[in-house]
Amino acid sequence: MADVIADGHTAPAGTQEHETTTGLPSTKLAMWIFLASECLLFGALITTYLLYRGASRIGPYPNDVFDIPYTSVSSFVLLASSLTMVLAVAAAQKADLVRMRIWLLVTALLGMTFVAGQVYEFTSFSHEGLKLGTNLFGTTFYVLTGFHGLHVTVGIIMLLALTSFSQAGRLPDDGGFSVEMIGLYWHFVDIVWIVIFTVVYLIPTGPPAVK
């Protein structure tokens, strides 16, 4: 690209880690705005679930299929992954690359455990007769938790990519910033699960509405 000789007191476009108007790195700002907008995405999905809580006309109903201890364990796993993620960030900030990679991998592994658990849960529900199209519960449950699972999966891919890029030495500033950004995303996915776990699994649905 042409190098233009001129005043250069403004940062080159696109390299937002340099001086910005607000002093905030653009990527981080973008990430927070993105997460703010994700609130509305999951808000709409959760609203749909709440609206149709107890509105299924035929079973299986939540109480027929939920295995709360099992899902509690999954929730612990995801929560733990948030902790390991933040440890990765801390390591990255201390430029401790080895620890950082280890924690990133552990986070990804915990994430995979969670997703695997979800896949297992879905199959066992499906064996119990709850399919996507069975009733409103199946419809809203699978789409809400599936959307969340998709987010976790995307996060896992990013974590794995990040680890391997770091291994290959292809991350700027030792990757500290990228780790922090992906961390933000990962924690967000975790807090969404906190809400889902409570709203979907723990709060009782009561008997199906008699219609």
């Binding site: 002093g23 905030l24 700002l29 927070w32 703010a36 959760i46 709360i68 902790l83 807090i191 723990l202």
Partner: protein
């Protein structure tokens, strides 16, 4: 439009390059402590589920616990407590908009009267 002046100073703060940035991140120990608290609250949630509470009490307890967990993760793990306040402002804008709008929607469906 009455508090335009106030809103302006609020907005003007977006200009400010030098405030509230990076006031020391929590230590690893602190992270682990938060992690343990989160785990503990999750145990509480599950326990509450099996504690035969009245439905309304249970719902309030569970929502309360979830909110605490939510805030802890956002504040500590996502650093909002230590980071620049402007990030928090954008996030809260989205979050509160989501909560308000969808509460209204649910109210319009009379979900809370069922």
């Amino acid at each position: 439009m009455a508090d335009a002046g106030h809103a302006q100073t609020e907005l003007q703060e977006i200009e400010d390059t030098h405030h509230g940035a990076h006031a020391g991140h929590p230590s690893v120990k602190e992270y682990i402590r938060i992690g343990l608290i989160l785990g503990f609250f999750t145990c509480l949630e599950v326990a509450a589920k099996y504690a035969n509470l009245a439905s309304a009490t249970l719902i309030v307890t569970l929502l309360g616990l979830a909110a605490v967990k939510f805030v802890l993760v956002v504040m500590y793990f996502m650093h909002l407590k230590f980071d620049d306040r402007r990030y928090a402002r954008f996030f809260v804008m989205g979050l509160s908009l989501a909560i308000t709008l969808f509460l209204i929607v649910l109210i319009l469906f009379k979900v809370f009267l069922r």
